[in-house]
Symmetry: C2
Subunit: 345 residues, 2 copies
């Protein structure tokens, strides 16, 4: 009989509330014969304040035993900027080699966009997750003096670029339009740019059915607001991916509905699924948070674990729910209930 | 008697056409007693193909003698990506220490935006122009092999950050809203982020009237499409500035109307003014290019040289022209003529 052994990290702010709805929908959609085991972990601001710890070796060993991880949100204004980001979120991505950071953007019917004319948007960004300027390489000399010099080193390897580019090609191949766009800044960042462009061109030979093109990251932000329909799959570096996926989320309905997966395709380590939005401390505990992004992250989790039908059902439930929303405001729990009913039905 | 000794670089593609209109308007707006001398320089694809040169020491010595530089566009598909960008555009910025890259965004009446609801947009980005990931620092080992490693080093100095941050504070101070936003990614790029944040906080003490805030670059792209009115002046690093100013141009009427200045505030070297759009080879020579961005760059040039009234008149002419455009399509020349008439009248 099948089973899913899930690590659950509610985290800070609205994390607890949205994760509860994600689990509700997960329970409702899974077939009877699938045994779902969950174990909750306390990470984030509370734990940091109590113990000074963000993510220990023992934590990593415990998390490693799970099939996947569902995370709500990590971050609180009471913790200095960067501590939880680098000490927990990035540490986990690097420790579990989450090199495919998957961020789909679909403008669903009934969802408001800041763009005029309600354009069709349906693309996915494959963001590299373990290299680029995110490696923490760099340093400072003469800190705090008028002669301070601070550096940040973007590290890019053929190994790291090739595996994520190949993953993106495979995803493009599996989609109806079969189109892959490389986003970089190879006219300025020439060393990294050459590596990315070269690997992209080489891997393209293995996927003759996939149409490819290249766009500089600055121009990509223009297309994301003037012609987002031009994109099918995008592959890009860690930092460019961070930037364009927030913009992509904004134009395709906002971070309230943006899901993401931090994926290790080899399954050597568990992959982690989380809404793109943060902990939103200003609305925490008020039952106002929209759990949709978390529920869509559950769909990515299901697909990653091979439950394609269930993933589709969750996404269809979300589409139907968003389409029928109108102007009535519902609590976090009510939205979760509605989605759970839809996936079960 | 006053004089302006201007270097003119038409460059590639539509550069020639738009620069001609910029000069037309400049001639029309300048008072009788100001003597305008112009000297045209041949840079870009033609020169590169003929001589292999992009920008020599002798070129720099010649350009240095001018009061300012007006540039159309540089770039052509016949030249490998990066050659003219690094060999001409960036080389000039670095050689002439253009550390203030000024990019205003105003959504003018009558101008189409991809955003719904025609929001009010009036902000200016002060992008650092001589540091960050643009320094060309970095390298490659094992090029072309499966073990290639390519690095890019972002270099940030207290000297370089402080001068651009102070410039941005002074600009914010001179505007009605007096608000300055620092855009960076200090939770991840902690070395550079600490330097920027620290310098920003220190310089802020000299400008007690200026309200300040900080936004991560990824979140900034969200605000640029959901609430661009929140911005007054933005100061940011070279690469983040590159990315967000293209997005800013897109939301505030497109790169057809986006102007920029590469400024050396000390006037030790001439500053350079150019439209944000590129050479657009697909429409070159067809009298289809909109010279508005170049004409607005002329306004920035005039203001830089102390001709504030004339700068205002050029900007008012552009506003009036855009507001009265309707749907009739005019040639590059006709738009230039209309603007020249307006500034003279
Ligand atoms: C919180 C931060 C470290 C993170 C990132 O920069 O990757 C976030 O912005 C994201 O996109 O997941
Ligand atoms: C052409 C390129 C080198 C340049 C840059 O990246 O700065 C351009 O994008 C710009 O914004 O002026």
């Amino acid at each position: 009989s099948r089973s899913i052994n899930l690590a659950v990290i509610p985290g800070d702010g609205i994390g607890q509330e949205v994760v509860a709805q994600g689990l509700k929908v997960l329970n409702a959609v899974l077939p009877q014969d699938v045994k779902l085991e969950t174990k909750e972990y306390d990470f984030g601001a509370r734990r940091y304040h109590a113990t000074g710890e963000t993510l220990t070796e023992a934590d990593l060993a415990a998390l490693k035993k799970h099939d996947a991880i569902l995370l709500g949100a990590i971050g609180d204004p009471s913790v200095p900027s960067g501590v939880l980001e680098r000490g927990f979120l990035l540490k986990l991505r690097f420790a579990f080699d989450h090199h495919v950071n998957l961020r789909p953007s679909r403008l669903l019917p009934g969802v408001a966009t800041p763009l005029a004319g309600q354009p069709e948007i349906d693309f996915v960004v494959v963001r590299e997750g373990t290299e680029g300027p995110y490696t923490g390489n760099g340093g400072t000399i003469r800190k705090g003096t008028p002669h301070e010099v601070a550096t940040e080193v973007s590290v890019n390897t053929a190994f790291g670029v090739e595996r994520v580019v190949r993953d993106a090609f495979a995803r493009a191949q599996a989609r109806p339009r079969k189109k892959l766009t490389l986003v970089h800044k190879n006219n300025v960042l020439a060393y990294a740019g050459h590596l990315w462009t070269n690997v992209f061109t080489k891997v393209a030979e293995e996927f003759p059915e996939v149409t490819t093109d290249y766009i500089h990251v600055d121009a990509a932000t223009i297309y994301l607001v003037t012609d987002p329909g031009r994109f099918d799959v995008i592959v890009t570096d860690n930092l460019f991916g961070d930037i364009i996926t927030d913009l992509a989320a904004a134009v395709s309905g906002g971070i309230g509905v943006a899901a993401s997966g931090n994926i290790n395709p080899s399954r050597e380590f568990p992959s982690m699924f989380e809404p793109v939005h943060g902990s939103a401390p200003d609305i925490a505990g008020q039952a106002k948070a929209d759990p949709t992004a978390t529920v869509l992250s559950v769909a990515l989790l299901l697909r990653h674990l091979g439950y394609d039908n269930e993933a589709n059902r969750v996404e269809e439930a979300v589409s139907a729910d968003l389409g029928g929303r109108g102007d009535t405001s519902r609590t976090t729990d009510e939205i979760g209930d509605a989605l759970a009913v839809r996936v079960a039905g």
